[in-house]
């Protein structure tokens, strides 16, 4: 299927150096943000091409969570796949996948069917929903020759058998990755990768905490783009970027404005367009907590001592992450109220991807809890290729005004 539809019109637009030094040495924060914007918007994967030029392999990881530490320890570049964004026209994927499905699944398949995923040797799809799961099943026909794996992420977080099962799952993944250009698995290398990822998560936590405490310091889009680089760059480079950004932000003056503090719930998998993220703050919202790119906040630091594979599995299972792709019966309402209080926020913005069933079903439980406490909220749906936001702008402005002038 993929061979027949090979795209001959793919012209790489942005070139990145093999050392990625343009990221760690960007002359200013603004220059780094612009570079991140260019990389994120480029469907020809400039950072992946740079990585694979010297014969190394990259693995495409569908959201929301994959054990990227493990891939890193095997000498692979784990790359977060977030669909085709605004730049991809869906021509073939609709027919293969179906019509009533989220944009990210269609555009990811479209990338595959048009040979835009050629730089990748392997793909991992976690079982976060039925679409992600099924997408893995049709990928081998779309990308012949590539390795694909459906990772069953457990949903029983109380069984004594869950961690051993997840360790076994990871071993299945290891055996596939070893055949897809990965170096043989070595526990000491995984322990080192865990330590590196611990540092990356700690820096991202500092960044999001800075946004929470002083939301005028950086915009939501800036925070998002800096984090998004984390799934596109070698993690060592991203860590340097984050450390440098921290220093730059400390020196940057805050630009407070008359805005309401909100938390952003729903976009944990498919990502809103950058225009839509911009719009949220343009109309007067400070997004002080969000569900974007949860991959980098999944758990607290992992103990690098002991069996690292077991520690990695335990961290996933024991995580307190409460989002739509983890079974958390009877705690949904409490969870949203806790988050509003912790932010603290004046309201909740639900921004759910069209056709994203896990998010859509959670919204009802969240809304019930917010109604009981009279906490205002607004629910908007989005798609990757949304272009006109006039109606969303109007709804957002009304929401902001209703809180500002209450």
């Amino acid at each position: 299927m993929g061979e027949e539809l090979g795209a001959t019109d793919i012209v790489p637009s942005l070139e990145v150096s093999d050392t990625f030094e343009e990221f760690s040495r960007a002359p200013s924060l603004e220059a780094l943000i612009q570079l991140a914007r260019d990389v994120v918007s480029d469907p020809t994967w400039p950072t992946v091409r740079a990585w694979t030029r010297s014969g190394r392999s990259a693995v495409g990881c569908f959201p929301v969570y994959t054990p990227q530490e493990l891939m890193h320890s095997m000498g692979l570049l784990p790359v977060s796949l977030h669909g085709g964004g605004e730049s991809i026209e869906i021509s073939h994927a609709d027919a293969a996948l179906g019509s009533f499905l989220c944009s990210i699944s269609k555009s990811t398949l479209e990338l595959a069917l048009t040979s835009r995923l050629a730089p990748f040797r392997a793909f991992v799809f976690p079982y976060i929903c039925d679409v992600s799961r099924n997408l893995e099943g049709i990928f081998p026909r779309a990308v012949p020759g590539a390795t694909t794996h459906m990772l069953h992420l457990p949903q029983n977080f109380h069984s004594a058998a869950t961690v051993p099962f997840l360790v076994a799952e990871y071993r299945r993944l290891i055996s596939k990755l070893e055949k897809a250009g990965g170096e043989p698995y070595r526990p000491e290398r995984l322990a080192a990768s865990i330590e590196l990822f611990n540092r990356q998560r700690a820096e991202i936590a500092r960044l999001t905490e800075m946004k929470r405490l002083d939301p005028g310091k950086l915009t939501l889009t800036e925070s998002y783009l800096i984090r998004r680089l984390g799934g596109l760059l070698p993690r060592e480079v991203h860590l340097q970027v984050l450390e440098r950004v921290r220093g730059q932000l400390e020196e940057r003056p805050s630009r407070p404005k008359d805005a309401i503090r909100v938390i952003l719930v729903g976009p944990f998998c498919e990502q809103p367009t950058l225009d839509l993220l911009d719009l949220l703050e343009q109309v007067g919202c400070y997004v002080v907590d969000d569900e974007l790119l949860q991959m980098y906040r999944w758990y607290d630091p992992i103990d690098p001592n002991g069996d690292p594979l077991e520690n990695l599995a335990t961290a996933y299972v024991r995580s307190t992450m409460d989002i739509g792709v983890r079974a958390t019966p009877t705690t949904k309402g409490e969870a949203i109220l806790r988050r509003v209080e912790a932010a603290p926020a004046q309201g909740v913005l639900f921004l759910t991807a069209k056709f994203c069933e896990p998010a859509l079903e959670d919204v009802v439980l969240y809304r019930n809890a917010l109604d009981r406490k009279k906490i205002p909220y607004l629910h908007l749906e989005f798609e990757e290729r949304s272009a006109a936001y006039e109606q969303s702008r109007l709804q957002l402005e009304t929401f902001v005004e209703s809180i500002l002038f209450d």
Partner: protein, 425 residues
């Protein structure tokens, strides 16, 4: 063309018995609930009927309640009520029917559905199960057991997957002992599994008769009526007896030459959940062309018994674990494709019809790729149409009929005027 206005011919005694069993089941539910006869809610895929029943629970399957509502044309009010509660247009129709019905008090034309005392989420093949049961847990506050069933990517399944489920089943048994105050009775479970196995053997024999030419069974539309015991009443002697009746009548059909489609013209494999609100209309679109489904995937949602698996009383928990893994929608797409291709070959089908469900991603996402594989790689004529299993607003009869007519016309032309050989196997 065949006169599709005539009523479809069912197996007489079996159909009457099936109706009576459904009525008895729902009548029994009306008195259930509370400590005397506690109620467990369960999902069809990978269900733990025998184990839960061995502890004295009555079992409710909200998916089956939902399809019964749809086929009786009462699903829309429930769906609209759920939408008024905030459940969006794109949420699964089964979920909306159930949650709407729960909010409206649980009354249906076939009886009152009691609230749950226990929620058993057999997470086998459908992620929406998790979200649905979270909503029920939030509403009722009763205990919820999550049976995490790994997605089936290997056939046979890997030992670690089976061991994981068995370990969870042991934990579930401890919970059942705590909630009921009863001690686990292994002998009782084995007895139930023996009844299940007998029913499964009967069901398999029924499904296998679709290989005959002409087919004495309608393996999609008619088979759906005979699924109830294999999904809901497994573990009881009544289910096993039911399939003995069914098969005796199928034998009679063969002897007398009375077939569900009098002049079998096209033999189809059907993939996908039926459009229950327009069930009869959809069936008539097949019947008028002399098209009979000889094999179908949907009747296997409760278990792929026809591919060799049967519950084994000698290995009770392992066998329940293997059953949970093997539910049709818990199978990876490569396994699903293989199964459908084998059905086409083994049942001598002329074509495949795929019915996609707007609000069911588990079944539907990827069916377009299946169509592509069947048509372009294997040369099997295949039609894909789309509506919904619960929501009547998504069934466009004129459009669907036009597409099906065009498909059968092209099959007819492709075949020319040569009639299919009639071979009785």
């Amino acid at each position: 063309m065949v006169d599709a206005t005539a009523e479809p011919q069912f197996l007489t005694t079996a159909r009457d018995r099936q109706r009576a069993m459904v009525e008895e089941y729902y009548a029994g539910l009306a008195d259930a609930g509370g400590p005397k006869k506690p109620v467990a809610y369960m999902l069809v895929g990978g269900n733990l009927t025998e184990l839960v029943r061995s502890f004295g629970y009555e079992v409710v399957f909200p998916e089956i309640v939902a399809l019964n509502c749809a086929i009786k044309h009462v699903s829309l009010p429930n769906i609209l009520h759920a939408e008024s509660q905030g459940y969006g247009l794109d949420v699964c129709g089964y979920v909306k029917n159930d949650l709407g019905l729960q909010e409206l008090g649980g009354q249906t034309p076939f009886g009152r559905i009691p609230p749950p005392d226990l929620l058993v989420c057999s997470f086998s093949g459908c992620y929406v199960y998790v979200k649905w049961w979270e909503a029920l847990a939030e509403k009722y506050g009763c205990p919820l057991f999550m049976l995490d069933v790994p997605y089936m990517r290997d056939d046979p399944p890997l030992p670690e997957d089976v061991q994981y489920i068995v370990a969870q089943l042991n934990e579930f048994i401890a919970l059942l002992e705590k909630t009921t105050g009863r001690t686990f009775d292994l002998a009782e479970l084995k007895r139930m599994l023996a009844h299940s196995r007998k029913a499964e053997e009967g069901w398999v024999n029924y499904l296998a008769s679709g290989r005959r030419r002409p087919s004495p069974i309608e393996a999609y539309f008619e088979a759906v009526f005979y699924m109830f015991p294999i999904n809901v009443l497994r573990g009881t002697p009544a289910a096993a007896e039911f399939y003995a009746t069914v098969n005796s009548e199928v034998d009679e059909r063969v002897r007398t030459g009375t077939f569900p489609v009098p002049e079998e013209k096209f033999r189809l494999v059907v993939e996908g959940v039926p459009p229950y609100p327009s069930y009869r209309t959809f069936w008539d679109f097949f019947r008028k062309w002399g098209a009979v489904s000889v094999a179908a995937t949907y009747p296997k949602v409760g278990g792929l018994f026809d591919r060799g698996f049967l519950h084994d009383p000698a290995r009770p928990l392992e066998s329940i674990a293997e059953y949970s893994l093997g539910a049709y929608v818990n199978q990876s797409w490569p396994l699903r494709r293989k199964l459908i291709e084998e059905y086409v070959r083994d049942f001598g089908a002329d074509a495949v019809l795929i019915h996609g469900i707007k609000s069911c991603r588990s079944f539907t996402a990827g069916q377009g790729d299946l169509r592509d594989r069947l048509i372009h790689d294997l040369g099997i004529p295949t039609l894909y149409i789309e509506s919904d299993h619960e929501d009547p607003r998504y069934f466009a009869p004129a459009q669907i009929k036009n597409r099906m007519d065009a498909f059968f016309e092209s099959l007819d032309r492709r075949r020319g005027s040569t009639p299919l050989p009639l071979v009785t196997t």
